[in-house]
Symmetry: C2
Subunit: 204 residues, 2 copies
């Protein structure tokens, strides 16, 4: 473990429910039911829309001299009521370029900065209902430069995994967040992956 928000902290400990309210709008989503008319059949149908900002995910590796390890974040996730292991990620602030969100989230969630940044493309998290994209970044030669700087509701542990271990977590289905898996797919399809993988394996 590289860092955590307080000693003796276990991200898997459930939170206590205080209140649950149906809502039309939360911190992340504006929820709409839209009635639309088909241009083909002229019939009308209802569809769900969830309007939300863009997101980023960052595959961050420490410098080869520091082990070439993948930075992972362990935190309690309130959707599934359990803790997960994920790569660094977050929500773009209004007007914030995704490349800046990626740098900000790497620094805030892990206290690291990268020596080299590459864009790995993007995806649509759920085009059937959501209007946003998730942007993928590769952060290389990461090194610690600051303490964690978390939102009050963020409680997390930072781990660093050698590539062989990270790959095993992916193969075993432990890293099973769809957006994390999509980021790894883009990494594996990136033309530079063969050379980077050899470098990371040589660190192990």
């Amino acid at each position: 473990m590289l860092a955590e928000h307080s000693p003796g902290f276990d991200p898997a400990t459930p939170w206590l429910d205080c209140e649950t309210l149906p809502t039309r709008e939360s911190r992340l989503f504006q929820h709409f039911k839209v009635r639309r008319r088909s241009p083909h059949t002229e019939r009308e149908h209802d569809f769900t829309r969830l309007l939300c900002p863009d997101w980023v995910n960052v595959l961050a590796f420490t410098a080869p001299g520091q082990g070439g390890e993948l930075l992972l974040v362990e935190q309690f996730r309130h959707g599934i009521d359990a803790s997960t292991l994920e790569i660094i990620g977050g929500v773009c602030d209004r007007g914030e370029a995704p490349a800046l969100t990626a740098r900000r989230e790497l620094l805030e969630e892990t206290g690291h900065a990268a020596g080299r940044w590459l864009e790995l493309g993007s995806c649509m998290p759920n085009p059937a209902v959501q209007n946003n994209r998730c942007h993928f970044f590769l952060a290389l030669d990461c090194a610690p430069v600051a303490e964690l700087d978390l939102d009050p509701s963020e409680e997390l542990r930072v781990w660093a995994a050698p590539w062989a271990e990270a790959e095993a977590l992916l193969r075993a289905g432990t890293l099973d967040h769809a957006l994390v898996m999509a980021a790894f797919l883009r990494l594996f399809l990136w033309p530079g992956w063969g050379e980077l993988e050899r470098t990371l394996r040589a660190c192990g």
Copy 2:
């Protein structure tokens, strides 16, 4: 193109907006704002929860004698207001096992049935807010057995892509639905992929 819902149909044609209403509950999601107390800090924070059923995605290939082609679906997606190219997918009915949903969606969306089914694991579409999983299936030796059987609001075109073309669409980022990308990652990590890929390439 293998099939479409009507002649001269272009899935990219936008639908007409009739009505847009903020909502707390739509066909897919129940939307909640929950207040929870941290077991670590005793402080309370608000979180978004979207409760929804499980989903399935199906990587369906025709039999090698029929070209070993990947079945793809082109349809207008109301989240992004544009058409997409995706693999077969859908929502589990209440109490329906994901393996049955996969068979039902393959039949309804493409009119095909598979000679062989394999499970490719699953993912969490968005564990930060959603409580559901998306289950991945590999459907081999698919052949047409029926006409399309679509919901009234579903309008789609079915395409069949030789593996080299499907892979090019993935590399180019045309297949950029996160859940489709996650399904491909699980396919590439599946121990049988090397042999299947050789078979599919030999069809091309």
